[in-house]
C-alpha cells in the first residue's frame, strides 16, 4: 500500500529580508520517493526556499509540511524549539560549504547525531557509520579529520552524516557548487545512488545536465516565484516561458 500524501508540501511561502522580497508566494509539493530539482539564477530565492523547509529561515507567511506534520507551527519558545528539533531530525540537509565539524573525526561527525539525539549505542552508531561510509565510498577515511579530506570527500561525508539520522527527505543546497569540477562527479554519483533507492530529494543546483538526469520534476525559479515547472524533458527541450528560455540558453550552452 502506498501512502499518497505528499512528503513535503509548501503553501504560499513568503519571505523578505528587510525590504527585499525573496519568496513571493511559493507552492510546492513533493511526493514520496520523488526527486525535485530547483533551478534558477542566483538570487532567485531557491536556496532560501530550501532553507525555509528546514526552518533555517523563518517564513513571513505560508506553511511548510513534512509528511503530514506542520513544520512552522505557531508555537513559542521552548515548545517550538522541541518541535523543530524533532522535525529536523527527519530531514537531512546538505550544504554548499559542507559544514562538517572540523573538531570531530569523520566517524564522530556521522555518529554524533544518532548518539546524542537518538540514544543509539556507540557500537551500533559505528556500525551505521561504517555502512554509510561504504556507501559513499569512503570506508577507509573513518578516522580522518575533515581538514585532511578533499572537497568531494567532505561533501560525501556530509551526505553520510545527514543519512545517519535516517531522514525522510534529503535537501541538497548547491551541494556541488563549491567543488572543483573534477570532484563534482563523485558527489553526483552518491546522489544518483540515493535516487536509485527512491530517497525523496529536493535538489537546488546549477547543474542542468545532472538535474535533467536524476530529477522527476524540475522547478525554474526567478525573482521569488516559480516561473515554470515540469518533467525535465519538456522543460529543457521546450520551455514555455521566455525567462526560462533565456536562462537555459545561457546554462546549457556552457
Amino acid at each position: 500500500m502506498t501512502d499518497l500524501r505528499p512528503m513535503v508540501e509548501v503553501k504560499g511561502a513568503r519571505k523578505s529580508f528587510g525590504a527585499l522580497q525573496v519568496l513571493k508566494g511559493i507552492d510546492l509539493s513533493v511526493d514520496r520517493g520523488q526527486i525535485v530539482a530547483i533551478i534558477g539564477p542566483s538570487g532567485s530565492g531557491k536556496s532560501t526556499l530550501l532553507r525555509s523547509i528546514n526552518h533555517l529561515e523563518t517564513l513571513n507567511a505560508g506553511e511548510v509540511w513534512l509528511d503530514g506534520e506542520l513544520v512552522n507551527q505557531p508555537l513559542k519558545g521552548r515548545a517550538f524549539e522541541r518541535h523543530i528539533n524533532a522535525v529536523r531530525q527527519q530531514m537531512g540537509m546538505v550544504f554548499q560549504h559542507f559544514n562538517l565539524f572540523p573538531h570531530l573525526s569523520v566517524l564522530d561527525n556521522i555518529t554524533m547525531g544518532p548518539i546524542v539525539l537518538k540514544g543509539t549505542s556507540k557500537r551500533d552508531a559505528r556500525g551505521l557509520a561504517e555502512e554509510l561510509l561504504g556507501k559513499v565510498g569512503l570506508a577507509e577515511k573513518i578516522d580522518e579529520f575533515p581538514s585532511r579530506l578533499s572537497g568531494g570527500q567532505k561533501q560525501r561525508v556530509a551526505i553520510a552524516r545527514a543519512l545517519a539520522m535516517q531522514p525522510k527527505v534529503m535537501l541538497f543546497d548547491e551541494a556541488t557548487s563549491a567543488l572543483d569540477p573534477e570532484l563534482v562527479d563523485e558527489v553526483n554519483a552518491v546522489m544518483r545512488q540515493l535516487a536509485a533507492e527512491h530517497m525523496t530529494m529536493l535538489i537546488v543546483t546549477h547543474e542542468m545536465r545532472f538535474a535533467g538526469e536524476v530529477a522527476d520534476r524540475v522547478l525554474f525559479m526567478d525573482g521569488g516565484v516559480v516561473v515554470e515547472e515540469g518533467v525535465p524533458q519538456d522543460m529543457f527541450r521546450a520551455p514555455q516561458h521566455e525567462r526560462t528560455r533565456t536562462f537555459l540558453r545561457k546554462y546549457l550552452a556552457a
Binding site: N85, G92, L104
Partner: protein, 219 residues
C-alpha cells in the same frame, strides 16, 4: 656582604619539592576552575538574558580593573567575614581561578563569535537544540581555536600562583621563605625558587605546544 653559598639550600630540598608539588596542584586546579568559569561567563555574556549578563559583566569589569593580589585579600578575608571559613588553599584556587576565568571568558567569547555560522546550521539541521549545538559543536571549536591565547593565560597563571604565598599557602615561594627564616639567605633561596619556576614554565610551555599541535588537525 657575606658571599653566596647555594649549599645552604640543599637541606631544604624536601621542603622545596613539596613547594613545587603544591604549586603544580594549585596551578592545575585553578586552571580547571578558570577554564570552566571562562566558558560559563562567555556563554552567559553571549546568550543569557540581560538580567543575568549584567551582574556577570560587572564582575568581569571589576576583576579586570583590579590587581590579583587585592582580589586574593578580598576572597580570603571577605569569605571569612560573611561566615564562610574556607581553607587558604581553597581561597587561593577560587581567587586565581576566577581571576583568570575573566580573561579566558574574553578570549572564548571572541572565539565563539568567530565560529562559522554554517557550523551551527549544520548541527541545527540534524536536529540539535541550541544548547546541544553550543555544547557539542560551537564551544568545542571555539576552545580549539583559542588554544594559544588560553595557553598563555595558563602560563601566566603558573607564575601568578606565587601570589597566594601571601595568604599562607605552602607553595614554592612559601617553602623558600621557610628556608630563609631559618638560614637568613634570601638570595640563594629565592634564586633557587626562581629556577624551579623557570623549569616548570618550560615544561608547561612544551606541554602546551604539544596540545596545540594535536589540536591543529581538528580545526
Amino acid at each position: 656582604m657575606q658571599g653566596l653559598d647555594f649549599s645552604v639550600v640543599l637541606p631544604y630540598s624536601g621542603i622545596l619539592w613539596m613547594g613545587v608539588w603544591w604549586t603544580v596542584v594549585l596551578t592545575v586546579s585553578s586552571a580547571v576552575v578558570s577554564f570552566i568559569f571562562g566558558i560559563v561567563f562567555a556563554v552567559t555574556l553571549l546568550y543569557a538574558p540581560k538580567i543575568v549578563t549584567y551582574p556577570v559583566r560587572s564582575f568581569i569589569w571589576l576583576f579586570m580593573g583590579t590587581p590579583l593580589l587585592l582580589q586574593l585579600f578580598l576572597i580570603y578575608y571577605g569569605l571569612v567575614q560573611i561566615g564562610i571559613d574556607i581553607p587558604a588553599l581553597a581561597a587561593g584556587i577560587i581567587g586565581l581561578g576566577l581571576h583568570f576565568a575573566v580573561y579566558n571568558a574574553d578570549i572564548l567569547r571572541a572565539g565563539i563569535v568567530a565560529v562559522d555560522p554554517g557550523q551551527a546550521e549544520g548541527a541545527r539541521s540534524i536536529g540539535f537544540s541550541r544548547l546541544q549545538t553550543l555544547r557539542y559543536v560551537v564551544v568545542p571549536q571555539a576552545v580549539r581555536n583559542t588554544a594559544p591565547p588560553i595557553g598563555s593565560n595558563m602560563i601566566a597563571l603558573l607564575k601568578e600562583s606565587s601570589l597566594v604565598s601571601v595568604i599562607g599557602i605552602a607553595e614554592l615561594v612559601h617553602a623558600a621563605q621557610l628556608g630563609i627564616s631559618e638560614t637568613f639567605r634570601p638570595f640563594e633561596f629565592y634564586l633557587t625558587a626562581a629556577a624551579l619556576y623557570y623549569i616548570l614554565n618550560l615544561v608547561l610551555e612544551a606541554g602546551l605546544r604539544r596540545v596545540e599541535r594535536k589540536v591543529e588537525v581538528s580545526r
